[in-house]
């Protein structure tokens, strides 16, 4: 079965092409059949391949399939080829599985949109690009997928192109992530120039042989790759694009800006873990970036009104957890959290989509409320997803993955009690903003009437993802064991005075505190929340957090405005002034010389005489 690997990528790609070329002439039924089933078939093949991989493991627990040589110049010879190991297998399973449910949901959600076939073409292309990124056996092909998902993100955020605000958000996403991509591109040059190959496994092998731990080149290469990773995964300082990305259709937010694409950075760091292990400074940066992001984004999530923006900041924060895990060397924990996060965050977004549609495109959580009875499916989806996100002990998947990370933040070899504390504060914030959302949206008085209720195509994905968000934690042990075929196990250094159980207890307390505060402020005494924002300090803090700590303002002032200014003042190309200057000079001298053409013979005679004298003088005296 494993030879079918290429089909996993090829089927969505082919479907995307067909939809792009012929989609506008097909009926919606055909578009649906093609767009949804392509991902379904891809998911089924992925499962078959996975079964094959587990039951009859290939040599070295990795399978390579090379389709053709892409470019061959001197020793630069990247292939179009796929590499399947435990890491990429887990990733593609989640992407195709979650991707399929989101596509099914979209079939109903987008049914009455005028760009129906365009939407599915983009979505299919996105899945194909994401799978290319995950399966690529060399960094150049990975980069192709990497840019491909960035492109699809741009296309889908700006899907409703008539509103210029959507276009702005789309361009912002593409450009900000491309800033990171540029760093990554330079990393590719550095790695190729050092080792003469683009194959990821060869690169890692040679790097561990030739580079000493902590060598400058290793740190530089790791940091450049990290630059790409923070761009795609919306981590500090390039996190600014993700909240705006919510301008796209909600299934897009679920698929791209929550479940899959934004975790590409996590994948790349995990994929090149050997390199990061050689560069402790870079790995520490990963942990620091993750910690800072999870706190900052958690605070911002507390202040947002837009239901999707709350979830967006929550995504940024949760990916911060994954980065923290990678940074301390808890590689498998990061991937585990990626998986559970994909389930519950897709669930939350799809639930949010159902709510927004039901309330006729209402996004503000302060104009929702009391929807528990009106939209039971969305309520249960949100409750389960929210509990999993907050990490409700024992019964939710999020609990297992998040606590593994928090525990690793202290106990791992590169861990530190400081990271553990950050993780705990993050847990408190997570619980606070999650339950704030739930209490505001589903409890209290009904504020906006419900006009539409989700049908089967939207309900089934919600139910499936809800089940996964609960039982996903059960696979913890086998999954971690399986991932160790590709990733090193976490080296436990132990934590003085702390055990995993105690850590879990503290985390549960953090959750409960958050829950209680949210209950107090957003359900029982809502006036408290208003009072907190009303006092001067609260207002400043609220405004600051609401504006994402002022990053947008900073970039706008420091980068965007100067660039626009430079472009504007030189619109007519100052260099051309030089050449038009020559032309003017020529013209002017012609006019001056023209004055001498008087038609008076005596002037001409005088001119000839003076000229002769001058030349004679020159001849005599030189």
């Amino acid at each position: 079965m494993m030879e079918l690997l290429w089909l996993i990528v090829a089927i969505p790609m082919a479907s995307a092409l067909m939809l792009a070329v012929l989609g506008s002439r097909c009926s919606r039924r055909v578009v649906t059949a093609l767009g949804v089933s392509s991902i379904g078939v891809s998911a089924v093949i992925t499962m078959l391949v996975a079964a094959d991989f587990v039951s009859a493991p290939p040599a070295g627990h990795a399978y390579t399939e090379i389709l053709w040589t892409w470019i061959s110049v001197a020793d630069f010879q990247p292939h179009i080829g796929f590499y399947l190991d435990a890491l990429s297998l887990v990733m593609i399973l989640v992407v195709t599985f979650v991707g399929f449910w989101i596509h099914l949901y979209s079939a109903e959600f987008m049914m009455h949109d005028e760009g129906y076939s365009r939407f599915f073409a983009y979505m299919n292309l996105f899945v194909a690009s994401m799978l290319t990124l995950l399966l690529a056996d060399n960094l150049l092909l990975l980069y192709l997928g990497w840019e491909g998902v960035g492109l699809c993100s741009y296309l889908l955020i700006g899907f409703w192109y008539r509103d210029p605000a959507n276009g702005l958000a789309a361009r912002k996403a593409f450009i900000v992530t491309r800033v990171g991509d540029t760093a990554m591109l330079l990393g590719l040059f550095l790695l190729f120039t050092s080792f003469g190959t683009m194959q990821i496994q060869d690169l890692m092998h040679r790097a561990s042989e030739q580079w000493a731990v902590g060598s400058t080149l290793a740190v530089a290469a790791a940091l450049l790759l990290l630059g790409g990773a923070v761009g795609k995964s919306a981590q500090l300082p390039l996190q600014v694009w993700l909240p705006d990305a919510m301008a796209g259709p909600t299934p897009t937010s679920a698929l791209i800006h929550a479940a899959t694409m934004v975790t590409a950075g996590v994948y790349v760091v995990a994929r090149t873990h050997v390199l990061f292990a050689l560069a402790p400074a870079a790995q520490l940066t990963v942990a620091a970036v993750g910690s800072a992001t999870l706190l900052l984004a958690g605070c911002s999530a507390l202040t947002q009104h837009d239901i999707k923006r709350v979830l967006a900041y929550s995504t940024v924060s949760q990916i911060g957890y994954m980065f923290l895990a990678l940074g301390v060397g808890a590689w498998s924990a990061a991937i585990f959290h990626f998986m559970t996060h994909a389930f519950f965050k897709a669930l939350l977004f799809l639930g949010a989509g159902a709510i927004i549609e039901a309330l006729h495109d209402e996004h503000s959580i302060f104009r929702m409320g009391g929807l528990r009875k009106e939209l039971p499916v969305a309520f249960w989806a949100f409750l389960i997803g929210g509990c999993s996100l907050a990490g409700l002990p024992f019964i939710t998947a999020g609990f297992y993955s998040k606590d593994l990370i928090i525990w690793g933040a202290w106990s791992a070899e590169q861990g530190h009690p400081g990271f553990w504390i950050v993780g705990m504060i993050g847990a408190l914030l997570t619980s606070l903003y999650t339950f704030r959302l739930i209490f505001r949206v589903f409890f209290g008085p009904l504020q906006t009437p419900v006009t539409k209720r989700p049908g089967y195509a939207m309900t089934v994905p919600l139910v499936m993802l809800a089940i996964c968000a609960v039982v996903g934690g059960a696979v913890k042990e086998p999954l971690l064991e399986f991932l160790q075929l590709a990733l090193p196990a976490m080296v436990e250094a132990g934590a003085v005075g702390m055990t995993e159980t105690r850590s879990e207890v503290v985390a549960t307390f953090a959750l409960l505190i958050g829950l209680y505060v949210a209950y107090l402020f957003h359900w029982q005494k809502r006036s408290l929340a208003e009072a907190a924002v009303a006092n001067p300090a609260g207002r400043v803090l609220h405004a600051w957090w609401f504006a994402d700590w002022g990053f947008d303002w900073l970039y706008d002032t420091v980068l965007v405005q100067p660039f626009l200014w430079a472009a504007r003042i030189n619109k007519h190309d100052v260099i051309d002034k030089f050449f038009t200057g020559i032309a003017r000079l020529t013209e002017a001298s012609y006019r001056v010389l023209q004055l001498t053409q008087t038609g008076l013979v005596r002037w001409y005679a005088a001119g000839i005489a003076v000229g002769s004298v001058l030349f004679l003088a020159l001849a005599v005296f030189s």
């Binding site: 792009a20 506008s24 053709w68 040589t69 892409w70 470019i71 061959s72 110049v73 001197a74 630069f76 179009i80 150049l140 980069y143 192709l144 840019e147 491909g148 492109l151 741009y154 700006g158 192109y161 008539r162 509103d163 210029p164 276009g167 361009r171 593409f174 450009i175 491309r178 800033v179 540029t182 591109l185 330079l186 040059f189 550095l190 190729f192 120039t193 003469g196 660039f563 430079a566 472009a567 504007r568 030189n570 619109k571 190309d573 260099i575 051309d576 030089f578 050449f579």
Partner: protein, 501 residues
């Protein structure tokens, strides 16, 4: 003989087109179309043959040659030769020539015969430039391609056509004259050392020059090619010429005339003056990244759609210059790849802009917006070429630019960083263009016709070609790789830097 036909066919077709115009306005179009197709077929045949020649391990890089004595007294020959590089340039000439004929089908309504005469003679001149192995013949072809372009802009151009045409002529003629002086200087110096009068490329390759002479003569060549390429700050003729020319003129300017500058650098400057060229490498690299960045920022600032695309050419050709002066296989092959892909993607963008202007009678982006609503397929195609232009992996331009950057990285990390930022800047202008023209609300209430079958026939093959070049560029890379290795060998500096690793 085939090489001669490649030039003769368009020359004859041009004459016929002019003559037959008195009977019918359709006839010149069909004649030109037939000539372009015929040339394309001939080039493909040559390419097939070259494939077998490479496979057979041919000792020479010249797949085909024609060498007739023209003026024996002065050592002037009619010497044509084709290697991988000129073959691909020839292919590009035929493809874009064909597209130019097709895209002028409804746009040109005045003096149809004379238009096609100019178009065909220009193509003949360009083919001559890519084929000539005799410097006298080269200069002859160089002039042959410029004069018809002058008429094309001056007669069928837009509002400021006379200004643009004269500017174009002054820039290219002055720099061309400098090249003529340099050619003659080389000719006489070669005579002084060997006692033989010759304009033959092969003979002059071994010319013994003093370093001082080599520098000055190279400068003459370089200036002519730098104006064509164009190298910032010699680019200012380009934005005017591109935006005022008729569509076919813009396509050929961007797709082919600019490439003759790069071709000249590759064919003449590097092999004839290796030492001097090596000396100016730092300057060339700095000018290259300056061009990349400056072109991108200028493109971002424009509101005239054609000017925007014109400035993107400045940026992309900066990559070509960067690759050429990287002195390694990555850079050189990347440069040629960029030349080909830029010809296709920018050519296609000019065709689309021209088609848009034909429909809306404006190039002002402030008067556009929301066109996706009325012309979805047209907009999708434009988006595709905008993406190619911003270097999206999987499309041809990326392969070229990636290789160029990889080549430049071997020389200087700093230069590469700035050039990579240029790719980032390409995102800015390409997305801005898509936004201003196709996205947003259709405020001007345009109701336009979507891609016609004729336009689809032009655009679809170009989309396919860019995808092919992006995903499986190897046949193309293989075609010109021997020529590039030969070039490095002739430049007597066998891949210095690249082998250091």
């Amino acid at each position: 003989m085939m090489l001669v036909w490649l030039i003769v066919i368009p020359l004859v077709a041009g004459m016929l087109a002019w003559l037959t115009a008195r009977w019918s306005t359709q006839l010149p179009r069909w004649i030109s179309l037939a000539a372009a197709v015929l040339d394309l077929v001939l080039t493909l045949v040559l390419w097939m043959r070259s494939g077998s020649a490479v496979a057979a391990g041919a000792a020479t890089v010249w797949f085909a040659e024609v060498d007739w004595t023209w003026v024996p007294r002065f050592g002037i020959h009619f010497h044509l030769g084709v290697d991988g590089l000129s073959l691909l340039m020839l292919g590009l000439t035929c493809v874009l020539g064909l597209m130019s004929v097709l895209c002028s089908w409804t746009e040109i309504r005045e003096q149809v015969g004379f238009f096609h005469f100019n178009l065909m003679w220009m193509l003949a001149g360009i083919a001559g430039v890519f084929l000539a192995l005799d410097l006298f013949l080269f200069y002859f072809a160089w002039e042959l391609m410029l004069i018809p372009m002058y008429f094309l802009i001056a007669i069928w151009g837009h509002e400021r056509r006379i200004y643009a045409a004269i500017k174009f002529l002054l820039f290219t003629q002055l720099s061309g004259l400098l090249m003529l002086i340099a050619i003659l200087a080389l000719y006489f110096m070669h005579y002084q050392t060997t006692g033989v009068y010759t304009f033959q490329y092969g003979d002059l390759l071994g010319a013994q020059l003093t370093p001082e002479a080599e520098r000055w003569i190279m400068l003459g060549f370089v200036l002519a090619f730098a104006v064509k390429l164009p190298v910032v700050p010699l680019h200012t003729w380009l934005s005017d010429a591109h935006s005022e020319a008729p569509t076919a003129g813009s396509v050929i300017l961007a797709g082919l005339l600019l490439k003759t500058g790069a071709y000249g650098l590759l064919r003449f400057v590097l092999p004839l003056f290796p030492h001097a060229a090596h000396e100016v490498t730092p300057v060339a690299l700095v000018l290259a990244v300056l061009g990349i960045a400056y072109g991108a920022v200028m493109a971002f600032a424009q509101t005239d759609l054609k000017r925007l695309v014109a400035y993107t050419s400045v940026s992309h050709l900066g990559f070509v210059l960067l690759g050429i002066f990287s002195w390694n296989p990555f850079g050189l092959q990347g440069a040629v790849m960029t030349m080909i892909c830029h010809g296709l993607s920018t050519g296609a963008l000019f065709i689309l802009v021209g088609a848009l202007q034909e429909r809306t009678h404006t190039r002002d982006m402030d008067r556009m917006g929301g066109l996706w609503i009325t012309v979805p397929r047209f907009s999708g195609a434009a988006l595709f070429f905008a993406l190619a232009s911003l270097g999206l992996p999987g499309l041809g331009d990326f392969v070229g630019e990636f290789l160029v950057l990889l080549g430049a990285y071997q020389l200087s990390v700093g230069i590469t960083v700035v050039a990579a930022l240029g790719i980032l800047a390409s995102t800015l202008y390409a997305l801005r263009m898509v936004q201003r023209v196709f996205h947003g609300e259709n405020t001007q209430r345009w109701q336009l016709q979507d891609l016609s079958p004729r336009e689809a026939l032009i655009i679809a093959p170009m989309i396919a070609a860019l995808l092919w070049l992006g995903l499986y560029p190897q046949p193309i890379l293989n075609t010109f790789a021997p020529a590039m290795h030969n070039l490095l060998r002739e430049a007597n500096l066998p891949a210095v830097v690249w082998q250091k690793r």
